[in-house]
Amino acid sequence: MTFSFDLLYEAIVFGILLGGFYAAVSIGLSVAFGLLDVPYVAHPAIMVLGAYCTYVLGGYGWDPVLAGLALMPPFFLLGIGIYRFYYETFEKRGTDTGVRGLAFFFGVAFIVEICLVLKFGVDQRLVDASYIGNSLKLGGMRLPLRMLVAFGIALALTAGLTLYLSKTFTGRAIKAVAQDEAALRLMGADPVRIKQWAFGIATAVTALAGAMLIIIGPVEPMTDRIYIGRTFCVVVLAGLGSMTGTLVAGLILGISESIVLTNFGASWAPAVAFGLLLVVLGIRPQGLFGR
C-alpha cells in the first residue's frame, strides 16, 4: 500500500469538515443524554425525520438551510412534547425506568423508521441547492461546498449553544439542573420546566442537523442506525455534558473515519464509530472532558 501524504492531507481536511458535522449532529444528544440523562436512543431517528422534512420542503423549492431553520420551532415543540411524555410516563413513576425508558425510545425510533419507509419507500432521497455538487478549490484541494456549508453551520450551532448554556440564565439553569436538581428546586426554579425547555432546544437543534444531514449526502430511513453509533460515540468520547468536548470528539471521529474511508474503503467506515465507542467505553468511559 503506497502511502501518499497528499491523500492523507486531503483525508484529514475532509475529516475535519465531517467531524464538525458529526459534532453538530451530536449536540442535541449531548444535552438530552449528557445533561438530562434521558436514554434518548431515538435521537438519530428524529434527526432523520428532520432530514425527510427538509426533503419535503425542498420539493416546494425551499433551500435546505432555510428549511432546517424553519423546522426548528415545530421541532422545539416536538421536543417539549417528547420530554413531557417521557417524564410523566417514566421518570415520575420511578420503578424500572431504565429498562422501560430504553425500550420506549427504541420502539419510537423503530416506528419513525417504519413510517418513513411506508411514506417514502426505502430509496435514498436527496436535496438540491446551489452549493451541492460544487467544490471550492483551496490550496490544491477540492473541498465540496456542501461540506463547508455544513461545517459552518455546525460551528455556529456549537458556539451558539455553548454560549447559551454558559451566559444566559436559562442556559445556566439547565447546567445546574444536570448537576443538582434538589438545589435548583430550593432556589425556586421548576426543574421539570427547565428540562423540558432544554429538551426542546436539543430537538430544535436536531432538526437543523437533519437538514445538514441531507445536504451532505443522500438519506434513507435506516440512516438512523449508523448514526446511533456516531452520535453516541461522540457524546461518550466527549464526556457526558461537555459541549466543547462534543466538538473535539466530533473532529476525532470525523478524521478517523475519513482516514479509514480513504485507505480501506467505504465498507469499513461505519465500524469506526462503533469500534471507537467500544474502545472508549472499555478504557476511559468518562470520556475526555467528563464531569
Partner: protein, 321 residues
C-alpha cells in the same frame, strides 16, 4: 415444593412429544415453516429476558448474537461438513463468549452503555461478515442441505422439531435461573445494586453469567437458520428486526416470569406471520413497534401483568398510593 417441580417437567416432556407427533403428521408444510419462526422467537425472547427482565440490562443486539450463531454454523458446515448438533453447540460457545466479552466491557457502567455497546456489536459483526468472502461476503452463501433424516418427511419438519426441543431447553434454563438463588440475586441487583453488594451478592459475576447464558441461547436460536433457509446473507441476518421482536415479545408477554417471553413470542410471531401474508411485511414490523410502545407505556407488566390484575380479587381500600 417437591410436588410442584414435576408439573413443569411433565409439561416440558408433553411439549416435546407434541412437537414430535406434529412433525410426523401430515399437516401442511407451511405450518412447520411458520412454526419454526415462532419457536425461534420463543428462544430469542426467553434468552433476552434472562438479562433484560431478570437483571434489567436491555440488549438491543439480539440480532448480533443470533447472526453470529448462524454464521458459526455456516462456517463449520462449509469447512468441516459439521452436523447440525455440532453447529448448535459451537454457536452456543461462540456467542456465549461474545456475551461474556460484551458484559466485561460495559457492565461496570450504567445500563444504557451496555445497550449502546450491543448496537455496536451488530454493526461490527455485520461489517466483518460482509467482508469475509469464505462465508459469502455481502452476497451470501447458498447451502446444500444434507439428506433428510428418518423419520421426518422433510428437512423443515426436522428443524421444527429441533427448534421445539431448543425452546423447551431455553425455557427450562430460564426457569431454573428465575426460581433459584441466581434469580433472586439478579432481582436484588436490579432493585438496588449497592444494596445487593452489601448483602453479599457478587453483582458483576451474576451479570456476566446472565450475559453469557443469554448470548449463548441467542446463538443457539440462530444456528439452524442457514439450514432452514438453505441460504445466508448478512443484511437480513443481522437485521434489527430480530432485536426489536425479541425485546417486544418479552415486554409484551411479561418480563417477571419465564412464561411471559414465551407467550409474547407466540403472540407476536404468529401475528407477524398473519400480517405479512395478509397486508405487507413492513406493516407487520410497524405493528410490532406500536405494540411495544403501547405496552411499555400502558401495561409494563405485559400480558402476565394484565392477567394478574384481572384475576386478583378486589383488594380493600387503604394503603399508600
Amino acid at each position: 415444593m417437591r410436588r410442584r417441580v414435576p408439573r413443569f417437567w411433565i409439561g416440558a416432556a408433553a411439549t416435546v412429544v407434541l412437537a414430535a407427533i406434529l412433525s410426523l403428521s401430515r399437516i401442511n408444510e407451511y405450518f412447520f415453516f411458520a412454526g419454526y419462526a415462532v419457536l425461534q422467537f420463543v428462544v430469542l425472547a426467553t434468552a433476552w429476558n434472562i438479562l433484560g427482565g431478570y437483571a434489567g440490562y436491555v440488549n438491543f443486539g439480539t440480532a448480533a448474537f443470533f447472526g453470529i450463531g448462524a454464521y458459526t454454523s455456516v462456517f463449520l458446515f462449509t469447512a468441516l461438513g459439521a452436523p447440525l448438533l455440532v453447529q448448535i453447540v459451537a454457536a452456543a460457545v461462540v456467542t456465549g463468549l461474545l456475551g461474556f466479552g460484551t458484559g466485561l466491557l460495559t457492565l461496570r457502567l450504567r445500563g444504557i452503555f451496555y445497550s449502546i455497546a450491543t448496537v455496536a456489536i451488530i454493526y461490527i459483526a455485520e461489517t466483518l461478515m460482509v467482508n469475509w468472502r469464505y462465508v459469502g461476503g455481502a452476497t451470501g452463501l447458498q447451502l446444500l442441505r444434507p439428506t433428510v433424516m428418518f423419520p421426518f418427511a422433510t428437512y423443515t419438519r426436522m428443524l421444527f422439531f429441533i427448534m421445539a426441543v431448543l425452546a423447551v431447553v431455553a425455557v427450562s434454563i430460564a426457569r431454573y435461573i428465575e426460581v433459584s438463588w441466581i434469580g433472586r440475586g439478579l432481582r436484588a441487583l436490579r432493585d438496588t445494586e449497592e444494596g445487593a453488594e452489601s448483602s453479599g451478592v457478587p453483582t458483576l459475576r451474576l451479570k456476566l453469567l446472565a450475559c453469557t447464558v443469554s448470548g449463548a441461547l441467542m446463538g443457539v436460536a440462530g444456528a439452524p437458520l442457514p439450514m432452514y433457509l438453505s441460504f445466508l446473507e448478512p443484511a437480513s441476518t443481522f437485521s434489527l428486526n430480530y432485536s426489536v421482536v425479541a425485546l417486544a415479545a418479552a415486554i409484551i408477554g411479561g418480563t417477571s416470569n419465564w412464561v411471559g417471553p414465551a407467550i409474547g413470542a407466540i403472540l407476536l410471531a404468529s401475528m407477524q406471520q398473519i400480517v405479512t401474508v395478509t397486508i405487507s411485511s413492513e406493516m407487520n414490523v410497524l405493528v410490532v413497534g406500536v405494540m411495544l410502545v403501547v405496552f411499555v407505556v400502558a401495561a409494563p407488566d405485559g400480558v402476565l401483568g394484565l392477567i394478574k390484575k384481572l384475576t386478583r380479587p378486589r383488594a380493600t381500600a387503604g394503603g399508600a398510593p
